[in-house]
């Protein structure tokens, strides 16, 4: 059973997924941040592979990506960092990134190496469903990785069902049509999440975009299996000299 599936069998509510950018704030802080996230209550870690042109991300995450790239982060470097991480990290790890760096690495090699270093799933927001079905989906499956599609309030019910059927692990519900880091009204979000619930999807649903503190986390969890925090967490890491205690106090603020 995949680590993600195992997680959701064990825990159906208040699942906390935290996004962090690999190689940020320091090149070698990736695993340190992951360990601190795990120690302080993150159920799942979404690790961002930095890209020069991250279309679906807002300025905060793009800025962290720029710093990570300047630090020398690459997919090769990341896999090196993750090589021994499974000795210490037991929570599921999902890689999030954009197609171009993955294609340059070689798509199949990427899936193979990701699986080998203990990665459980992929989020590639600019991999469309047509190309997933005709070309890439089979490769991802071959290496036992989960693939997580995004849905938005603009996505039709029919399409949500389709994307749910193609996804495994969980479904990523963007809580409003926006890039990461935008503020939108949570009450609009509730109706959308209730609709998702009524569609009886096969995958658990995690809500992303706009989750930044205990209030927004709890609100999202009221109608979904859990939520994803990204921008607010990256902001908290900015300028930190003590990753462990920054992560601890951030997660305390969200969970307690």
């Amino acid at each position: 059973m995949s680590r993600i599936k195992e997680l959701f069998e064990r825990k159906q509510n208040n699942v906390l997924n935290v996004y962090c950018t690999a190689g940020y704030p320091e090149l070698n802080s990736t695993v340190e941040v992951m360990k601190a996230l795990q120690a302080n209550g993150a159920d799942l870690i979404e690790l961002g592979m930095p890209y020069s042109d991250p279309l679906a991300d807002g300025p905060v995450i793009q800025h962290s990506s720029t710093i990570a790239l300047n630090n020398g982060m690459t997919i090769h470097a990341l896999f090196n960092q993750l090589k021994d991480s499974r000795k210490e990290i037991s929570v599921p790890v999902v890689l999030m990134g954009y197609m171009n760096p993955v294609l340059q690495y070689g798509f199949e090699q990427f899936c193979k190496d990701a699986a080998a270093v203990g990665v459980d799933g992929l989020i590639l927001p600019d991999l469309p469903e047509y190309e997933f079905e005709t070309e890439f989906g089979a490769v991802i499956k071959q290496y036992g990785l989960d693939f997580i599609f995004l849905v938005t309030p603009e996505t039709s019910d029919e399409r949500i069902k389709k994307l749910d059927s193609l996804s495994s692990g969980f479904l990523y519900a963007v809580s409003s049509s926006s890039t990461t880091g935008s503020d939108k009204n949570m009450t609009d979000v509730n109706a959308y999440l209730q609709k998702l619930k009524s569609l009886q999807l096969k995958n658990p649903v995690l809500v992303g975009f706009g989750i930044k503190d205990k209030q927004t986390f709890d609100a999202a969890c009221a109608h979904a299996n859990g939520a994803i925090i990204g921008t607010a967490f990256i902001k908290s890491l900015e300028g930190t000299t003590d990753v462990a205690s920054t992560v601890k106090s951030f997660l305390n603020g969200v969970l307690n």
């Binding site: 042109d53 279309l55 997919i75 993955v102 927001p125 469309p128 996505t155 049509s177």
Partner: protein
């Protein structure tokens, strides 16, 4: 017999192995709406009537096909200049913005966004938004805003809001990222007018079709002049490739016509300061389509260089990538210096001050051997007014 057509991409937007729509789900509804409706809208009689009438009375079409006698003598052949520089706002860009504003109107969109590099597409977009009384927001790299002050002023005079792109390298590709993000954040009322044959399907095809009026006119104009619709060569500069797509379009499937695209070599193809995408790029994905892309080994997008802001783009439209890959098109490049030489030469030989972009196509004439019976049509995509500061500096340096 299966016939290959370069004019129409597959239903998924592929030209050969290039194209597609590599977009995040947040853009899906808007892009799908365009994909399912653009052809039907563009083929509609009332659309065509309004489009044609604006091209004629507002843009000033048809633009002349001018026999450049002294330039022809210089190359011992026959060179025709397609005078897109005489379009309203000074370049071919407005052919596309007129088309897209009419499309946006029919889609019920009330708010227009655009990206711009040198500002030509931004000005052309601001112009048609003023014409239609529609809100217009133009994203422009912070660096380009500093470099292109006159065009920034023109956009503002036309009522557009110019928003600096401060992320990444703060130039055209980042302005495009910001425009796409704006679209993600405003999914209901906004249409994004992309300025080139780039972006997710259907943009490359849609923009090529709006620009195809260039080659449509070339065919009947050439017939009027010399009795045949087909030249031996058509030439155009390529950044993203919109004027080249328009110039090539009605010759794409006429295999006797050589298609010559000229990229910006910057300080030289191998200088590390270049924008010659077919020479330096590898297949990759940027701004929603798979094409050739200048990038590092790790797949990070490389910042290009060209003296001409309009060619300063690390990618190329998927149609052009396919023309390159299939061998249908010939891709040459001209350096900053060669383009400047061509600017001054055209001024003296023909009394025309060309844009720096178009001058790259002119410069490539020197790299080709022509017969005296050849008929070459070269797209003079824009006029040089916007480049005057560069030309003044070059005159000083050259004495």
């Amino acid at each position: 017999m299966a016939t290959t057509t370069y004019q129409q991409p597959s239903s998924q937007g592929y030209y050969g192995k290039f194209g597609g729509a590599y977009i995040p789900e947040m853009l899906h509804r808007n892009v799908e709406e365009l994909q399912s409706r653009y052809l039907e809208i563009m083929q509609d009689a009332s659309f065509q009537k309004e489009f044609r009438s604006l091209l004629k009375d507002y843009v000033g079409r048809p633009t002349p096909l001018y026999y450049a006698k002294r330039l022809s003598q210089q190359h011992s052949t026959n060179i025709w200049l397609k005078r897109e520089d005489l379009c309203h706002t000074g370049a071919h860009k407005i052919n596309n913005t007129v088309g897209q504003i009419l499309l946006a109107e029919r889609l019920g969109k009330k708010r227009i966004i655009a990206e711009t590099g040198a500002g030509q597409h931004g000005v052309a977009t601001a112009t048609v938004c003023a014409l239609k009384g529609v809100e217009c927001i133009v994203y422009m790299g912070e660096k380009d805003i500093e470099r292109q002050a006159p065009n920034v002023a023109r956009m503002k005079m036309l009522g557009a809001k110019v928003v600096p792109a401060v992320s990444g390298s703060k130039t055209l590709k980042d302005a495009t990222n910001e425009a796409i993000r704006d679209w993600i954040n405003n999914p209901n009322d906004t249409h994004y007018i992309i300025g080139s044959v780039v972006g997710p399907h259907p943009y490359p095809d849609m923009v090529a079709k709006f620009q195809s009026v260039i080659s449509e006119e070339i065919r009947w104009q050439l017939k009027e002049h010399i009795g045949t619709e087909l030249p031996t060569h058509v030439m155009a500069c390529v950044g993203g490739g919109s004027n080249a797509a328009g110039t090539f379009y009605h010759f794409l499937d006429e295999l006797s016509v050589q298609l010559i695209a000229v990229e910006a070599a910057g300080c030289g193809v191998n200088s590390g300061m270049s924008a010659a995408t077919t020479q330096l790029g590898k297949p990759g994905i940027l701004h929603g389509s798979k094409s050739l892309l200048m990038q590092t080994e790790d797949g990070q997008v490389v910042e290009p260089h060209s003296i001409s802001a309009g060619l300063d783009y690390p990618g190329i439209g998927p149609l052009h990538a396919h023309l390159y890959d299939s061998g249908r098109g010939t891709f040459l490049s001209a350096t900053d210096e060669e383009a400047l030489d061509a600017v001054f030469q055209l001024c003296r030989l023909e009394g025309i001050i060309p844009a720096l972009e178009s001058a790259h196509a002119l410069a490539a004439l020197n790299q080709l051997k022509f017969k005296d019976t050849d008929q070459i049509v070269l797209c003079l995509s824009g006029r040089g007014d916007k480049d005057l500061a560069t030309y003044m500096k070059a005159m000083e340096e050259r004495g």
